[in-house]
């Protein structure tokens, strides 16, 4: 394992330490491993909290900032943060109008958030949850509630964060975030595994020419392993799975997010974009806004996720609002 680490057991602590040194707009809490906006809680604004395991750079801490998240609970690599951290994130984010906890559908996260919500409510803080479940291959249609949350979480934070920034109530913020995730579908393809520093070896294996179709953000197996194909065929295959699930129709507008999983060069993401864009053009679906880059990764895994969010007037307006998170800026 070749990595820039000191003690593999404290990588997350050292990362957080470096992160708050590098970025003056954020701070780390004393009470628990939580990163918050320097100016949180923002009085009179609904607080936006998320959290999850580490190793998904720039998720989750990169999305702390104006127009996005107020506080983030930081877990160990690929492990949900403890309830304790979510609880302190809620406290740090609550500006008096309650907290929207927008996170991904993983058993650990759900349990820890549930417990933290109980603790916060004992303190008189109102918390409402929205759970992202955008990963189509992780459960069949009809079982949407079982699906994992993947890169679509970013769009949920963007929408929820913008609604909060606009002065929305807790109900309004969670309604917008819920609409965002209801309108969002993702899927991933993995080409290589990643190495959790404390484990020191790849977390799964793939044959020389194999790809994992429908891979999860921690290397969870997907629908099937198959031989690697040209980029255009991979894009087509992904769209064939994602598009009908929503479904999208001629005339629809969407937000398209193509995220690398870690070590896939940006060049390859744009090669995939080229085909995805053409497929959408052919169906007369227009891309209102797009994001291409490493938005939600799995350490140094090679692979990609494609995320589509179907837009309406409200979502467009919220999507267009500025954001000033460390790793998500929009003018």
């Amino acid at each position: 394992m070749k990595k820039f680490v000191n003690d593999p057991n404290v990588v997350v602590d050292e990362m957080v330490e470096g992160y708050v040194m590098a970025n003056k707009n954020v701070r780390a809490l004393q009470e628990a491993r939580v990163v918050a906006r320097q100016d949180a809680p923002v009085k009179g604004k609904v607080g936006i909290v998320t959290g999850g395991g580490s190793g998904h750079k720039p998720a989750f801490i990169g999305y702390v900032g104006k127009g996005m998240c107020d506080a983030v609970a930081v877990g160990e690599i690929f492990t949900s943060p403890p309830a304790h951290a979510f609880y302190h994130a809620f406290k740090a984010a609550d500006g008096g109008r309650g907290v929207a906890c927008l996170y991904g559908n993983y058993a650990g996260d759900v349990m820890n958030v549930d417990m933290a919500v109980d603790m916060a409510e004992d303190d008189g803080i109102a918390v409402k949850q929205v759970i992202a479940n955008d990963d189509v291959p992780s459960a069949p249609k009809g079982k949407e509630a079982d699906r994992r949350g993947v890169a679509g979480e970013i769009l949920m934070w963007k929408i929820g964060g913008a609604k909060a920034e606009k002065g929305g109530t807790l109900e309004e913020v969670t309604a917008s975030a819920q609409k965002a995730i209801n309108n969002t579908r993702s899927m991933g393809v993995g080409l290589s595994p990643c190495i959790i520093p404390a484990v020191g070896k790849p977390n799964f294996t793939l044959g020389e020419n194999e790809m994992e179709v429908g891979i999860g953000h921690h290397g969870e197996p997907g629908i099937e392993k198959m031989d690697i194909r040209p980029a255009d065929e991979v894009a087509q295959m992904m769209m064939d799975i994602v598009l009908p699930d929503l479904p999208m129709q001629s005339g629809d507008e969407l937000c398209l997010l193509i995220s690398g999983l870690g070590s896939t060069p940006l060049m390859e993401l744009y090669i995939l974009y080229r085909k995805v864009g053409k497929i959408l053009e052919d169906k007369n679906i227009s891309v209102y806004r797009s994001y291409v880059g490493d938005y939600f990764t799995s350490l140094e895994m090679a692979g990609v996720t494609v995320t589509l969010m179907k837009l309406d007037a409200e979502l467009k307006e919220l999507l267009d609002m500025p954001a000033d998170a460390v790793h998500f800026k929009q003018l």
Binding site: P82, A85, A107, G108
Partner: protein, 210 residues
């Protein structure tokens, strides 16, 4: 009824058995999950050990403290699940120095109800519930049939082992490995294994004070 239990020794027994088996626990977790179950548990329990001197001596408080520590520090699914497990056990024996059959029964029942309430797993889902439920059932059956505390604990430990082993051929329905479907068969569930180790260690500790 036992003599007065040295609760710190009981807790240390658990800490040690997990520490000794952490590589194995991670290895079996790695077969179908992310390979960190041993690390997670050992990390949380090492915090229990580090702070143990500053804790009160009684079993109820110590078990609750153990649960709170796991809940606060280890995150993942295990924080809430084993956190609840130990907190409920602690609650079941609050203020108790010696244990009777009813106390142990309450501990197992509390733990099981807590874990099921928290994680929603049922018997057959390939989780620690398979170990815990088998252990609880066997203990109660033995006690009901007139066996004494020691004998009932022996039955409980044997059943915990069978419960753990039963997970080998199960398809996971909860946790990470549930994503694997049929591919999750063939390995003992890591949580079921740690639960077996914990229950066995507790059982052995308690029988020492008979």
């Amino acid at each position: 009824m036992t003599r007065e239990i040295n609760a710190k020794e009981l807790v240390l027994g658990i800490v040690n058995v997990i520490d000794e088996n952490k590589a194995w626990l991670s290895e079996i977790d790695g077969a179908v999950g992310d390979g960190d179950h041993g690390i997670n548990m050992a990390k949380g329990l090492s915090m229990v050990r580090a702070d143990l001197n500053r804790q009160p001596d009684d079993l109820g408080s110590l078990l609750s403290y153990m649960g709170m520590t796991l809940l606060t520090h280890i995150g993942g699914a295990m924080g809430p699940i084993y956190g609840t497990f130990f907190m409920k056990m602690g609650k079941a024996v609050q203020g108790k120095k010696e244990l009777e059959i009813a106390d142990v029964s309450n501990m197992l029942t509390g733990a099981l109800e807590g874990v099921v309430g928290r994680g929603g797993a049922e018997v057959g889902d390939k989780t620690l519930v398979d170990t815990l439920s088998a252990a609880k059932g066997a203990f109660e059956k033995a006690a009901k049939s007139g066996k004494d505390l020691g004998e009932s604990i022996d039955e409980m430990m044997a059943a915990a082992k069978r419960g753990m082993e039963s997970t080998k051929d199960m398809v996971a329905k909860k946790g990470r490995s549930s994503r694997l479907g049929e591919r999750s068969k063939g390995t003992i569930d890591a949580g079921a294994a740690s639960c077996y180790l914990i229950l066995t260690s507790m059982g052995e500790s308690i029988t020492q004070y008979l």
